[in-house]
């Protein structure tokens, strides 16, 4: 028996629907069809009048969710792909994100963004938008990397009174399996040491955690002990854990799948440089995707995002300082 990452997302939604009648699901093709990725399979049947097919109106979908949240509901909105949240951008960053600050009324919405690249998905079905949303005050941005986190962080995210951007990685959906959904259950805002080490710290999140672990495995053969920190949430950022790790290793590589300008890796590197400069024995490094749209062809795609090879290369460079 095993659970996949997408199973965990489905289970969490099922539990939420069962236990909290403020929760409803809203998204394109999520009712009868069970969602483009089957994250809501069977839920419309099991919970009549709680799971709704939305029209192709991402902006209005988010607007509806804000209105429902004002009235005390806890909507979970599924964007069919993270990339299409660009249509809902205004309602997310200007309506949902500002509402509590302006009015004092919190907006407990969870927006599920199927994120990240898979081979052949191309420029508009592959984006990683966590670094865009995290720039806006008033949003919590979660990026689970494990089956257990996919489950618990969705539950915890929905329990928050603030709008949550829940970035789930499409590549992990069926590829990532676990014995059960019960891992160590950390609170939101706490990072995890996925793999302990002492020579360098890789800070990663979402699918890149797994690529980083692979890179660490390879370098272990050369005697290098690489510590991998899984941020889990990119806003808030758990700098305590990151800094403690860098204090142990003296070396930092931040790895992300998003575009290279700004974003999570820039925030991590600049905070470590600012707050933990004296801990660093070498220049902190970043590794991101390339500065082009995500290409369609699997060969280009594989060279666009960080891979175990490119992470190893970056680590070797970092270790050579």
């Amino acid at each position: 028996m095993s659970v996949t990452y997408i199973d965990a997302i489905r289970e969490a939604q099922e539990k939420l629907l069962r236990e909290d009648d403020r929760v409803f699901l809203y998204g394109q093709d999520i009712a009868t069809f069970g969602g483009a990725f089957k994250a809501t399979k069977g839920l419309a049947e099991a919970f009549p009048n709680r799971v709704f097919d939305a029209p192709i109106s991402e902006d209005a979908m988010m607007g509806l969710a804000v209105g429902a949240a004002i009235e005390g509901m806890r909507p979970i909105v599924e964007m069919q792909f993270a990339d299409f949240s660009s249509i809902a951008f205004n309602q997310i960053v200007n309506q949902a994100a500002t509402h509590f600050y302006r009015t004092g009324v919190p907006i407990p919405i969870t927006v599920r963004l199927p994120s990240g690249g898979t081979p052949g998905s191309g420029p508009f079905h592959s984006q990683s938008m966590e670094g865009i949303y995290a720039q806006y005050p008033g949003l919590v941005v979660l990026t689970p990397a494990t089956v257990s986190d996919a489950y618990h962080m969705l539950l915890d995210g929905v329990a928050l009174d603030d709008p949550v951007i829940y970035c789930e990685h499409k590549f992990l959906y069926r590829w990532l399996k676990a014995k059960s959904i019960n891992g160590d259950h950390l609170p939101i805002g706490q990072a995890r040491i996925t793999r302990p080490g002492k020579h360098a710290t890789v800070v990663a999140y979402s699918a890149m955690v797994h690529e980083a672990v692979r890179a660490a495995d390879r370098l272990a053969q050369d005697g290098w002990e690489i510590e991998v920190v899984d941020l889990r949430s990119v806003k808030p950022l758990d700098m305590d854990t990151v800094l403690a790790s860098v204090a142990r290793t003296g070396r930092l590589l931040a790895v992300g799948e998003a575009f290279p300008w700004g974003g999570v890796t820039a925030e991590v590197v600049s905070r470590v440089s600012e707050e933990g400069f004296h801990l660093l024995d070498a220049p902190p490094q970043r590794l991101n995707a390339r500065d082009t749209p995500v290409p369609y062809h699997p060969k280009l795609w594989a060279a666009h995002r960080p891979t175990p090879e490119s992470i190893c290369d970056a680590l070797r460079k970092l270790l050579s300082f």
């Binding site: 902006d59 758990d238 700098m239």
Partner: protein, 315 residues
């Protein structure tokens, strides 16, 4: 609506005297429309999402004058606590969401409030309404929101105040249909056209639209025809409005028309109206004075966070 007019005249003077920062946006000429909507709604039960020119509707719905003066004057006691200003105010938990500037964005929000009430079994007899300008009908948000309300068959009324201009932009650069009410059929919802300068007609037509929505006939689109009698904001003299429009039927001041109607039908006398005027002017003066003597927000006492959650170990 008289209250709104007097209040807004006061806001205009305060702005011109440099006492209000940012901008002042008046509903002059639109009070008949806005008040008719506000009066048709039931505070504590219905939802009303006012827009730029809805002082009259706000007042009719029950928003206290002090909410307005506090927000315009930046009192920390106001509903927005100095964090947002002027028309960007509301009390969402009292059924009045606070508009964001992005036009059209309140349409799906009202739909969502009604949608939630239905899920909660509280929709019976409830109406949600919002106003919007001719210009804002060009937004994707308006289209998506109205279409969604139609799909869900929500008891929603959207009043379009076609005041001929969006800032300086005339109708001819905003849409190409004969009357915006022609859009109703394309959404499969009720459509109503009304002379926005005529209070009695507004009360009747908007009242009917609200009733239809309340009785389960689904979304209703009301298009009111009128002219904005001020500039876009008080910084704008509106000199681009052609004289012909000002002197034409749409240029009638709904307030004057309404007063004439009241007197004509014997519902009221000139003396009574003058009496109201004086009373209201005093009331407005009190609301202004109170807001002015209240404290401004203090940056040192602000908590400077946009989240309601406090994360212990991270930020």
């Amino acid at each position: 609506m008289l209250r709104a007019r007097i209040l807004e005249n006061k806001l205009s003077s305060l702005y011109k005297a440099g006492k209000i920062v940012g901008g002042v946006y008046l509903g002059k000429g639109q009070e008949a429309v806005s008040a008719s909507l506000g009066t048709s709604l039931i505070q504590g039960k219905d939802v009303f999402a006012p827009l730029i020119r809805d002082q009259a509707g706000r007042t009719a719905f029950g928003e206290p004058l002090i909410d307005c003066t506090r927000t315009y004057l930046g009192s920390v006691e106001g509903p927005m606590r100095g964090r947002d200003g002027n028309i960007h105010r509301g009390r969402p938990l009292a059924g009045m969401p606070a508009m964001i500037s992005h036009l059209g964005a309140q349409v799906p929000v009202v739909a969502g409030m009604l949608f939630a009430k239905r899920l909660q079994g509280k929709l019976q007899g409830v109406v949600g309404a919002t106003c919007i300008g001719d210009g804002a009908t060009s937004t994707g948000a308006f289209h998506e929101g109205l279409n969604l309300a139609a799909i869900e068959n929500l008891p929603m009324v959207v009043v379009v105040a076609n005041n001929q201009f969006a800032y300086s932009t005339p109708n001819s650069r905003q849409f190409a249909c004969a009357d915006l009410v022609d859009r109703a059929k394309g959404y499969g919802i009720g459509g109503h056209s009304v002379d926005g300068t005529d209070l009695l007609e507004c009360a009747e037509v908007i009242g009917r639209a609200v009733r239809l929505a309340r009785e389960g006939d689904g979304p209703q689109l009301v298009v009111a025809h009128l002219l904005r009698l001020s500039g876009h904001g008080e910084h704008d003299d509106g000199s681009y409005v052609p004289a012909g429009l000002r002197s034409g039927h749409h240029g009638r001041d709904c307030m004057e028309v309404a007063i004439a109607q009241l007197i004509e039908t014997g519902a009221s006398t000139q003396e009574e109206i003058t009496g109201w005027h004086d009373e209201i002017a005093e009331e407005v003066q009190r609301a202004v004075a109170q807001a002015q003597q209240e404290e401004a927000p203090d940056p040192y006492r602000e908590d400077w966070t946009a989240l309601s959650t406090r994360f212990p170990s991270a930020q």
